[in-house]
């Protein structure tokens, strides 16, 4: 008994003495798809400078929350990855460090992606991929992509046969992100722009004429039997991967599974709707530096010397299949038709709004779409209601 006590004491003593301190060491948070690509870059960095780099996998949805809790205590990461629409919220919370990068490096990036990561004139992230949705179709069922949206509807009607479990065209619902191209084609928008170039959270365009017309188009798809209630992401991609769906609106993240399923697919821009070009949301993914990082210069170096290289950017692309924002890497993929189609789609797109108020928009908007698809409410009423709800939520009156 005595010996046990002494042993315990000894262990505790050692534990206290061996206090962990933090030498120069970089901690990077990313989700599981990017971790392998980063791990390689990390090894090279360590080899060159002798500074260990630890790539920690954190579930994507938890990164922001965990950062807010851990960073102010000093235990947080140095670098995180995430989409550009996070930066509004993160900057409000004082969690991001502006980047200082040389001009010649900046010139190698797609300017729209740099713009997406800028706030009040400073750059807060190093972009690595742009993403948006486009039309993905099954070449065995639809040899040529439709040239207009009307054509798309015609093809879809022919191919839709619920008795056999076959469908012609689906947009996952309720999903504002995937439906936005319909609204934006007619001139709908979420937040209006101010003269200074920022977004006005109280200028909500979800109930303007354009948005309503887009909603009416969705309503029409339901009434003509093309779109059905309950078609969520799982259902839509599941059907497509089994060869039971001819066309859908989706992003590059769906490609790996489609390829695994062996479907003969193609990617095209969403066809013009009554002559108007649909503008999908463009999201830019990038690396950001925590404001509480104790290794800011090291992080900067990691970003600009080791991540902003063609090899690493291509490695990240391999896993996620998103068009790189780094132009030399994008050029390498010039003969990849999927990437070119997504990039073309993005060229027409609008960057996802990054002000924190954006988070208040999704719920009401989703509800409106769901009511339209389940035919409980007409499109005009649903969108107007949603916009009102958002205005109330944000306290704009």
């Amino acid at each position: 008994m005595q010996k046990l006590g002494i042993l315990v004491l000894a262990v505790l003593l050692v534990g206290v003495l061996g206090l962990a301190s933090e030498p120069g060491k970089l901690i990077v948070w990313c989700d599981e798809t990017r971790a392998p690509a980063l791990a390689e870059a990390a090894q090279k960095f360590t080899a060159a400078y002798g500074v260990p780099v630890e790539v920690q996998e954190v579930p994507f949805g938890d990164i922001r929350g965990n950062l807010a809790v851990t960073a102010p205590t000093g235990e947080g990461p140095d670098v995180i990855i995430g989409p550009h629409d996070w930066i509004g919220e993160l900057i409000y919370n004082g969690l991001l460090e502006p980047l200082v990068l040389p001009a010649d490096l900046l010139a190698q990036f797609d300017p729209a992606s740099l713009e997406a990561f800028s706030w009040a004139g400073e750059l807060y992230g190093l972009p690595y991929a742009t993403e948006c949705v486009a039309l993905i179709y099954n070449k065995d069922l639809v040899p040529e992509p439709p040239a207009t949206f009307e054509e798309l509807i015609e093809i879809a009607k022919v191919l839709t046969d619920p008795e056999k479990g076959q469908y012609g065209f689906l947009i996952q619902q309720p999903d504002p992100y995937h439906t936005f191209p319909l609204h934006s084609a007619y001139g709908g928008y979420v937040f209006g722009a101010t003269p200074e170039g920022t977004l006005d959270p109280c200028d909500i365009g979800l109930d303007n004429e354009g948005s309503i017309k887009g909603a009416m188009l969705l309503d029409r798809l339901v009434k003509e039997g093309i779109e059905f209630a309950g078609a969520d992401y799982q259902t839509v991609t599941g059907l497509f991967n089994e060869g039971l769906l001819a066309m859908f609106i989706g992003g590059p993240w769906t490609l790996p599974d489609i390829q695994a399923a062996g479907i003969n697919y193609g990617v095209a821009k969403i066809p013009p709707i009554e002559g108007n070009i649909p503008r999908p949301f463009v999201g830019v993914q990038g690396f950001m530096i925590s404001a509480f990082s104790e290794n800011r210069l090291l992080a900067h170096m990691f970003l600009k010397d080791f991540l902003a290289t063609k090899e690493v950017m291509l490695a990240i692309y391999e896993r996620g299949q998103r068009p790189p924002a780094y132009l030399p890497a994008l050029a390498e993929l010039a003969d990849n038709p999927d990437i070119q189609a997504f990039a073309a789609s993005a060229a027409d797109g609008i960057p996802m709004p990054k002000i924190p108020e954006m988070g208040s928009v999704w719920g009401a908007w989703s509800d409106a779409l769901e009511l339209i698809v389940s035919q409980k409410l007409g499109p005009e009423e649903a969108m107007k209601n949603a916009a009102e709800q958002i205005r109330t939520l944000l306290g704009c009156k």
Binding site: Y92, G359, A368
Partner: protein, 505 residues
């Protein structure tokens, strides 16, 4: 004797805590130690001797977080206000800016021989080299004692007692080096890259006496307003900080029409959901437990093992599976229903059926738990009672309802109440299956038909103005706790009568 050891350890830890400046923890430890000694040495604190270990962990990891939660409810902790005022000030003040015409310097890093301090030799474009060390900058030239000009080009390149660092060593110590700042007249010298130092200027300065943050470039004064440093024109400096807001969160909850409007509807469904979940899972669980306790039934163990499987699979995947099953077009349930009866139920699209779906799903998830606790409680019923009743001519049915069931209820009632409370707050389940949908047409607020109190109010806290409002969410938690606590307390008193029964057995 073990107590003596613990005391020794405690005192030693107490001292080391004090040394590190952790006063609160030291005090807490002292109190705990005193308590432990008193409890285990006194003759009168018998029950506490048994209760203490559990209570210790309870206080630390359950009561303290609750206390913290309560504290947060009185602040505005949330997006834009997650830093303390000091941290926000530090961040704003640390914003140096580099004027376009800032002076830049080449530099060389040195480390003290036999020591750990660092120093720099800075070379401006014009003028003598500067030696920077410990927050001080001194111009040096060849001939100044202590400095060397080893290559004889008229420029100082060495210092006595210091050793020049090569690039790898510089990088290894970069985190320390980059943080070193040296005042230089009105400016601050800092490292900007591996090749350069530059003269930064401070943008903001905080005046603690007047509690104002001054923008040195424009002269504007920013006063703390509602957790942001705000200029007279209303422009706020980021980041904001947490402030104490008193009962504002609670007040907002009670008076906010978005909350009070649907409150009763949401409350009614929350209550119904919890109530029916408990009844259904208990009924099935008890039924199974009773029959699987029957010594005459073969394969009991295997059956029990198979029935436990729903409980062993992570709820995350099983609930999402169920969601797929409920899909009106391609889900399994409707496919079977359609082929047998030609109907398709709009499971998750119709308010009524969505509720049915939730209850069905919850039944599946929860019956193993009820089965297990029923199995356990069944073991405690003395056989003599049944034998006596059998002799008196009671049927199996009567024996169950008059003897077994009441006795079971005595031990299980609080657990049923607990299960009620758990389901009342079962945020994840609702969220995974329906996300609170289907939405209510024409509603003023985004409350879905299957939202329960906690999912609805949390959503308001996290989706309302500008991101996550943890302060508001904490206030919500407390309010909900009061509601469920009251309901439970009433129920406990009700079942107290039953407790008397068991104590006479």
């Amino acid at each position: 004797m073990a107590l003596g050891l613990l005391d020794a350890l405690g005192i030693w830890t107490f001292c080391s805590l004090l040394l590190r400046g952790e006063y609160w923890m030291a005090v807490g430890l002292a109190v705990a130690l005193a308590l432990i000694n008193w409890i285990y040495l006194s003759k009168r604190t018998y029950p506490l001797k048994y209760l203490f270990p559990g209570l210790f962990f309870l206080v630390l990891f359950v009561l303290y977080p609750i206390g913290y939660n309560i504290y947060i409810a009185f602040t505005n902790y949330g997006t834009g206000h997650i830093l303390s005022k000091e941290q926000a000030i530090a961040q704003i003040e640390s914003r140096l800016y580099l004027p376009p015409d800032a002076e830049t310097f080449d530099y060389v890093v040195f480390q003290e021989e036999g020591g750990t301090g660092f120093a720099f030799l800075l070379y401006p474009k014009e003028g003598p080299a500067l030696f920077a060390r410990e927050g001080e900058v001194v111009p040096v030239a060849p001939g100044v004692p202590g400095f060397l000009d080893q290559d004889g080009d008229g420029v100082v390149d060495g210092a006595e007692g210091y050793r020049r660092l090569g690039l790898p060593e510089v990088v290894q110590n970069l985190s320390t080096l980059q943080a070193m700042e040296f005042p230089y007249g009105e400016k601050i010298l800092r490292m900007t890259s591996l090749q350069e130092f530059a003269a930064f200027e401070r943008r903001y300065r905080y005046d603690p006496e007047k509690d104002v943050m001054v923008d040195l470039l424009s002269g504007t004064g920013y006063r703390p307003v509602e957790g942001f440093f705000t200029s007279p024109e209303g422009e706020a400096l980021l980041p904001g900080f947490t402030i104490f807001v008193g009962g504002r969160n609670f007040f907002a909850l009670v008076t906010n029409p978005q909350i009070s409007g649907p409150f009763f509807r949401v409350f009614a469904w929350t209550f119904a959901y919890a109530f029916f979940s408990v009844i259904l899972t208990f009924a099935l669980g008890l039924f199974l437990a009773y029959h699987l306790n029957n010594p005459y039934l073969r394969f009991r163990k295997t059956y029990r093992m198979l029935l436990i499987v729903p409980y062993a699979i992570p709820a995350f995947i099983s609930v999402l599976m169920w969601r797929g099953f409920f899909n009106p077009e391609v889900g399994v349930f409707n496919q079977i229903l359609y082929s047998l009866f030609g109907i398709k139920i709009p499971w998750l699209q119709d308010p009524f059926w969505a509720k049915v779906a939730l209850l069905l799903n919850n039944l599946w998830l929860g019956f193993p738990y009820m089965m297990i606790i029923s199995l356990g409680a069944l073991q405690s019923i003395p056989e003599e009672l049944h034998e006596a009743a059998q002799i008196d001519g009671a049927s199996t049915w009567q024996r169950f309802w008059r003897i077994t069931f009441p006795l079971l209820l005595v031990s299980l009632a609080p657990l049923l109440i607990g299960s009620f409370a758990f389901n009342f707050n079962n945020f994840t389940n609702i969220y995974l299956l329906t996300e609170g949908r289907p939405p209510i047409p024409g509603a003023q607020t985004p409350a879905g038909s299957t939202d329960i109190l906690i999912s609805y109010t949390y959503r308001l806290a996290f989706e309302g103005q500008r991101g996550n409002q943890y302060g508001l969410a904490s206030a919500v938690s407390i309010l909900i706790f009061f509601i469920i606590g009251t309901i439970s307390w009433i129920n406990f008193r009700f079942t107290r009568a039953l407790e008397e029964v068991s104590e006479n057995v």
